[in-house]
Symmetry: D2
């Protein structure tokens, strides 16, 4: 088991860039990420519109080049461990950002909602983060469920895309399923794939309704791997129970359509079913939670239970990565 | 405990109509529903476009008038038991209907997808329904998870709305959460509320992607109740673990927005939180699954765990209805 | 030339109802309509949320039954004359209504925009209406371009639909093209068709962005006619220069798709073109203005110049109705 | 009057790049552009999916750096002349591209529509292009109305965006208003602004429904200018009769909202009106045609007549550029 440590300068986009680390498939990579505010929002008086500066938002760590990865292949990023690095985290409203507010694209004549910061106390021992209401003395401990909002590869067509924009290359999909134990798959667009990640969340609800999650700097361990010759037109996820397709687009029904279309194709491929048979099976057994409904593109997930599908995806790479992760954790 | 039996002619819309049954709040009602095809699709050769005739689709049973229900109140419909009445059920594609096909409103120049029927074997003892692929010999037993796609009340503004259209009055929301153990709440628009229901499903995936679920005639028991003076602008659901708001609209992000907006307001009301505090709490703890993304309006759900909220909704009517249901089931 | 006078009580929906007038095809009908506020907003202090009461908004005059009209036919409504009945008209913002504000379906946490009334002076002799700014002394005369926002027939499937909701039956499409000189076509859903109309506008921009036009009571003359055996799945319009298809739906791209799909089919039918040839011809020659982007459904238009098409639509009924209109106006 | 000739290699994206030409404000620039297929589709047998290769589509000419242009300024691009360079042009369907077909984002299970090429004969003397149906012998001369589908500047946030994607930086907006006589305004994101353009159309309908216009290589003359210190958050257009705001987004109602929001702000600014007064004035006088409803983002326009506004925009730069253009054309 090869273990590498990744150190990199923060970047704010996905695109062709010099790799910060180049590793063979199967390598465990230890890294750390800053929160989406670059660490500048530390308390309720640090309004993001004052302490942050566009476009220096949502820094990502990387990129990691995977040796041998070429267009036409798929890279796998398995999350071994995601752990908050501080005893606090923050969430905020942000002017003209969020699902229940006018935005720059859902343009309206309203004044922005008030900009507020919530500071959560993070207790890694108890595995909780504590919410305190701003307008009353209500507070509650919420279980930690750490995840990365932003994971992806260099886009196709030589594009350079802001790290806050999700798309077919992954990026800021903001789904709570991107947690330890999950393997994420991305189609490769450039040699090495160039994986970057950031935007750690102590937890988030589906949809990330107010626009930000419980944002935290993370200490994270991944295993990266390579599936040669396997296409993955949109990012896919796998955990021990589910295969998951993602779709990222606007309007939200297009994100839904992409994710379901991909899951129908994937299920049909794995089970040798006709398209319409796969459509039927997914229709009766699938789950369809929102990822984000706030970013420049929205993300929906389409999930099917692995006990319905019954055959391994991507040649069983998830199980192998789980084994590597277990070995790493045992030896650490 | 008062128990009534509802018999009614099939109806195909929600609107003001003579009640088929008038009951006081707290009454247990036993009823049966036909499937969405009116029972006319019985095998793979019964194409719905041939054996069904628009608008005689999706028959509903009812309406039930609740004594004392007036505009400004909320009626509760608790599902005690939903049980397939036959040893088979069907699902189909239907020309220009479904999420992954051109439709009459998402109008395109494609020929319709092939119209196919899948016949499921239903085994109530084993609590399964068996899927058989049409194009191969793949088959699989799926667990039953019976529910009603269509439940609602007479709409506001004297409208008469087809039973296949969901809206603020409920109707064809097609969410798998409408199962036994769930209480559905509807704002009352006309005296008596006029509750109707139908469209039983042995199970369905979230989104009801192909347009139809595992459609079945059902033998169903509900308890109806009344919460005087409580507003419910969009249908809400409650089970033992979650409070759920629904939103029904197009595009899908508007369905999402409605559901989240309602859940933010509901959570804030129950916990005495400022709106933005409730927005924050829901953002970090909520779930957001699709209901349907195929009907004339789409439905999204916004869910929050009752152990986050910690206080009873609608004066605890769900628990009382659970108790009534338990008594009924014990005595039956 | 037969001329009838229609008198009717205001109605607030499209649906099966007793005809207020039954006429043979070709009859000229004189009628009057109240404005969308029922005449209750008369000055800047008459806020609609105070002086109007849901659902008693947007009254329509009618219905007119056309003798011999049956499902499968198309009725034609030609606008001979539309003339403001008063020397004033009003427009308003309305809480949570309009394109640049949160609404009940595009649900957000903003407070509503301020509710304001603008009173226009109408001068029929000079054919102008005068806008006065509320917050400054800017004012300007705008040319009158009178039209009806709401025109339609009884819907299919026995539905009863509020007069403020547009759809396949027509209704509140709010397109400025519904002016004198235009013929509107509607597919017939019930015997007699049951034509109603209202919501006169002294003028409106495309999109009706703030939610209301320059709203006025009108004195209107139409000729109604019947095209036996001609289908018209969505309302169509024709004036001396253009054939126009409408599409009404959400999201707005579906309204666009419906309108373009209908115009492609209509053009192909008239010219004997293959579907893809018609698609190409419409793509290079069509116009695509917004109707309304504020109502419960949005409306887009697809227009093609009649000198491109070169053959008469609906057997030339528009020209015949123009001739009838000219005769009526000459004799009046 | 300074006149420069621009020669450049084709580029396929908007982004920071070495200028091909650097000019002071007020310079006339002569240039030529290739068609969106790079000239590879020359007849009905040249299917784009065979003769073109993603992402080498929609080449643009440029970039032109404008001396003194900095972030916070606005550059003006006035079209003096746009003239087809060949006696033919082409249009095509393209698999999974267009408004009335399933696409990669509006993902469906349909097979693609047939891929067809239409070849138009272009006659610059008669100022016509001739459409020939593929499936019949119908043909018709259509007037030339040459324009550029793609015009824009380097995007904000260091992004590199494919030339087929429109956005706040302009790009592939595909509006027929981008014709000779029009001035286009773009907010500057990088020093020099870096203007590129391409995608000439002999003509196109609003919406560009089938996905491509009458595509042609062009010989084009522009004047570029600079408005210091003037913001332009979304591209704006001006011709002799109208001020036009654009909005580019999905869903289409967001493109509509952006364009109307911008026009309300622009009109209010020019006339010194309160926001709601400007909202009202635009609502009653504006036009709202579609640009494109096929590209990766959709574009809507919001237009207001200059005789309603009555005061010059951007310090009257359009009139000055018209004068320059007239001088150039007189001297050429």
């Amino acid at each position: 088991m090869r273990v590498e440590r990744l150190e990199s300068e923060p970047a704010y986009s996905f695109g062709p860039r010099e790799p910060a680390l180049t590793v063979p498939p199967g390598t465990v990579v230890e890294l750390s990420t800053e929160d989406c505010f670059g660490g500048a929002v530390r308390g309720v008086d640090d309004l993001p519109s004052r302490v942050c500066q566009f476009p220096y938002l949502n820094p990502v760590t990387g990129p990691i080049a995977v040796e041998g990865a070429e267009p036409g292949d798929t890279v796998a990023v398995h999350f071994v461990d995601i752990r908050p690095r501080r005893d606090w985290a923050v969430s905020t409203t942000f002017p003209h950002f969020g699902a229940l507010t006018a935005t720059h694209t859902t343009a309206m004549l309203h004044d922005p909602l008030p900009e507020l910061v919530w500071r959560y106390e993070v207790d890694v021992d108890r595995w909780t983060c504590r919410f305190h209401a701003r307008g009353s003395d209500f507070s509650i401990d919420l279980p930690l469920d750490p995840m990365h909002g932003t994971v992806g590869v260099a886009p196709a067509a030589h594009e350079v895309i802001m790290s806050i924009t999700p798309g077919a290359h992954g990026g800021n999909m903001d789904t709570p399923e991107m947690r330890a134990g999950t393997t994420a798959y991305f189609g490769v667009n450039v040699d090495g794939a160039l994986i970057s990640l950031g935007d750690g969340h102590c937890r988030q609800g589906e949809g990330e309704v107010c626009g930000t999650a419980v944002e935290a700097a993370m200490s994270t361990v991944v295993v990266v791997d390579l599936v040669k010759g396997a296409a993955c037109p949109w990012p896919r996820l796998e955990d021990d129970r589910y295969l998951m397709s993602t779709g990222t687009a606007r309007p939200l029904e297009d994100a839904f359509r992409i994710s379901q279309h991909d899951l129908v194709g994937w299920t049909g491929h794995l089970l040798g079913l006709d398209t319409l048979d796969a459509y039927q099976l997914v229709s009766q057994t699938g789950l369809a939670p929102a990822g984000n409904v706030v970013d420049t593109n929205y993300t929906m997930l389409a999930k099917i239970a692995k006990d319905v599908v019954g055959v391994p995806a991507f040649d069983g790479v998830h199980d192998r990565l789980r084994a590597t992760a277990a070995r790493y954790l045992a030896e650490r």
